[in-house]
């Protein structure tokens, strides 16, 4: 029995040159799903720019509120508003979210189901934080930190850095993969009893619609309840995917953004501390 959840379509573009190996494999399905998600994101941004021009629309309000929410989060964590950090955290959040919820489209699956995507997201966050650490502290202090508190702890400090990336990427990967496994098993159940599911859905939907249209309210109440229940049962399956795709997707994207904010805010606290020390010595 083959499970497509664990499988990927693999291409080896360098194989005719003689280069083979796991590192050069390209997962085509993941790549396609990411591109589809990015296309959707561009479409969304175009729409957002169009709608934001009208100051009174609800859409503009929603976009504005979400931006304000993130900028408040950054302000509280960093102590002061830093445009570069804010933009990076927002971009990371939006890209992760897009990859998590792209599975809601038909024939498309989540691209964060693949470990390669999540590792790339975690690495970009990690490298950004390391770059700013070096920029603020200087390369000398950065290297010195590896030998703190004593020289012997160098391997432990390196493992600590690696563990940050690994835990960040596997957290996202495990959650999204679990969601897609649950949905795959559900689809198998639906495929076995396909006729029953479609029959119940169509009959209850038509029945409920006719009831609402032609029968006055308050009559034949039990039958109405029954039809309503059958129709909502079919909604339950959509609800399970919604939970895993939307809710878990938003939470995990938010967790990644929060972790990046925290690592960056530790950095700014350190630089504030250093500035205060310097001021103290000069005055």
């Amino acid at each position: 029995m083959k499970v497509p959840v664990f499988e990927h379509a693999v291409a080896r573009p360098f194989s005719y040159l003689g280069f083979t190996g796991g590192f050069l494999d390209v997962h085509i399905d993941t790549l396609m799903y990411t591109w589809i998600g990015m296309a959707g994101l561009f479409l969304f941004i175009a729409c957002a720019r169009w709608y934001v021009r009208d100051k009174k629309s609800i859409f503009a309000f929603a976009v504005e509120q979400s931006v304000v929410f993130f900028s408040d989060l950054c302000n509280e964590s960093f102590g002061s508003f830093n445009y570069g950090y804010f933009v990076f955290v927002c971009a990371l959040f939006i890209f992760t979210l897009t990859c998590n919820i792209v599975g809601l489209l038909p024939f498309v699956e989540e691209s964060t189901r693949d470990l390669n995507t999540t590792l790339a997201i975690a690495l970009s966050s990690f490298l950004y934080v390391q770059y700013h650490t070096i920029r603020i502290e200087g390369i000398k202090d950065y290297v010195r930190e590896f030998f703190q508190p004593i020289f012997l702890l160098l391997p432990l400090n390196i493992i600590d850095k690696v563990a940050k990336v690994v835990s960040m990427s596997f957290r996202l990967f495990g959650n999204i993969l679990g969601g897609s496994i649950v949905f795959y098993l559900l689809l198998q159940v639906i495929a076995v009893y396909r006729v029953w599911f479609i029959g119940v859905a169509v009959i209850t939907f038509l029945g409920y619609w006719l009831f609402e249209k032609f029968v006055p309210a308050g009559r034949y109440q039990p039958l109405r309840t029954l039809l309503n229940g059958g129709w909502s049962l079919t909604y339950c399956f959509a609800g399970i995917q919604m939970f895993f795709s939307l809710f878990e997707g938003v939470i995990q994207a938010f967790v990644i953004a929060m972790l990046t904010i925290t690592y960056l805010s530790l950095l700014t606290e350190k630089s504030h501390h250093n500035e205060q020390l310097e001021k103290g010595t000069t005055t």
């Binding site: 029995m1 083959k2 499970v3 959840v5 664990f6 989060l73 509280e76 964590s77 563990a163 690994v166 835990s167 596997f170 957290r171 495990g174 959650n175 993969l177 679990g178 969601g179 496994i181 649950v182 098993l185 809710f247 878990e248 939470i251 967790v255 929060m258 972790l259 925290t262």
Partner: protein, 318 residues
């Protein structure tokens, strides 16, 4: 005569005995708490009894799932032809038995706290019941996952299963069963704290509702990891003539993930429950509490992720 039939009987027994014990203890806890709160607020007995009845129905659902698995095991008893099939059935029993028993006890703590909160705020009963139902339906998730895993094992079992393949399926059931323990305890702590703190400060209902929804989902993460590993073990192909090393490392992977889930589940739930009380007492510091809790939970959860990584490596190398 001792044959594979003995394992099949054992599996059906495990499934029903464990789950009914857990469910019964849970219903006892809920009932006892209702008696206490009825003594405190006799005038609001209508709302309290209604919450109790709705809650007990949800507590019982884990036991009903285990009953279904037990029936499936008994009806499929004729198919227990080899020791492998017997071991696979023990795996089914462990998965649903441990899962349903822990979920039964955990789910009742939400009812106990909700009834207590209703006795403090009788006019707010409807909303407290909503929070209780949310918590209980989130707590039910591990039981439903272990039910899914038990059914999956039943689907992949064939009459000519080798003993090693059967032990592999047993390990897949075991990881789901052990993995349910910790997160369920954590979720029960969180559900108790959130219902109780709505009783303390009902003006924070909206924020506590959102907070507990989010935290329940994060506390539940180790269960999802366990389910990923369990599905991987079920569909992992082993050669017919494999050595015992393969099986030992597959069993080790299941133990690694299962025990990693216990501590993280309890710890994340404990952090979230303390935070609920703080939110009720200091509503103005909701923002910082929310962020600190989320971060603490995320860092605690790294241990479960390390368990998952080791388990995946063990499966890969087997």
């Amino acid at each position: 005569m001792i044959g594979p039939q003995i394992l099949h009987t054992l599996a059906a027994g495990i499934a029903i005995v464990f789950s009914s014990a857990g469910t019964a203890i849970g219903q006892g806890i809920a009932g006892a708490s209702t008696m206490e709160s009825l003594k405190r607020q006799p005038l609001g007995r209508g709302q309290q009894l209604r919450a109790l009845l709705v809650g007990l129905a949800l507590v019982e659902s884990g036991g009903i799932l285990a009953l279904v698995v037990s029936f499936i095991l008994l009806l499929a008893g004729e198919g227990t032809t080899t020791w492998g099939v017997g071991w696979a059935q023990v795996g089914m029993g462990l998965s649903i038995g441990i899962g349903a028993s822990v979920v039964g006890v955990s789910s009742s703590r939400a009812v106990a706290a909700a009834v207590k909160a209703i006795s403090r705020q009788p006019l707010f009963a409807q909303k407290i019941m909503g929070l209780m139902l949310l918590s209980q339906s989130m707590i039910e998730a591990p039981a439903i996952f272990s039910f899914i895993i038990a059914l999956l094992i039943q689907v992949v079992v064939t009459p000519t299963l080798t003993t090693y393949a059967g032990i592999k399926l047993c390990a897949a059931g075991l990881v789901m069963g052990i993995g349910c323990i910790g997160p369920s305890i954590g979720q029960s702590m969180l559900a108790y704290a959130s219902c109780h703190s709505v009783g303390i400060n009902r003006t924070m209902y909206q924020k506590l509702f959102a907070f507990s929804f989010l935290s329940q989902a994060i506390v539940e993460t180790p269960v999802i990891f366990c389910m990923v590993l369990s599905t991987l073990l079920i569909f992992h192909r082993i050669p017919v003539l494999c050595s015992i090393d393969t099986i030992v490392s597959l069993c080790a992977s299941s133990l690694s993930m299962g025990f990693a889930a216990i501590g993280t589940g309890v710890a994340t739930g404990y952090v979230a429950s303390r935070s609920c009380y703080q939110i009720a007492e200091n509503p103005e510091s909701y923002g910082i509490l929310f962020r600190a809790t989320l971060l603490a939970q995320v860092f605690i959860e790294s241990s479960a992720i390390y368990g998952l990584i080791i388990a995946l490596l063990l499966v890969r190398m087997a």
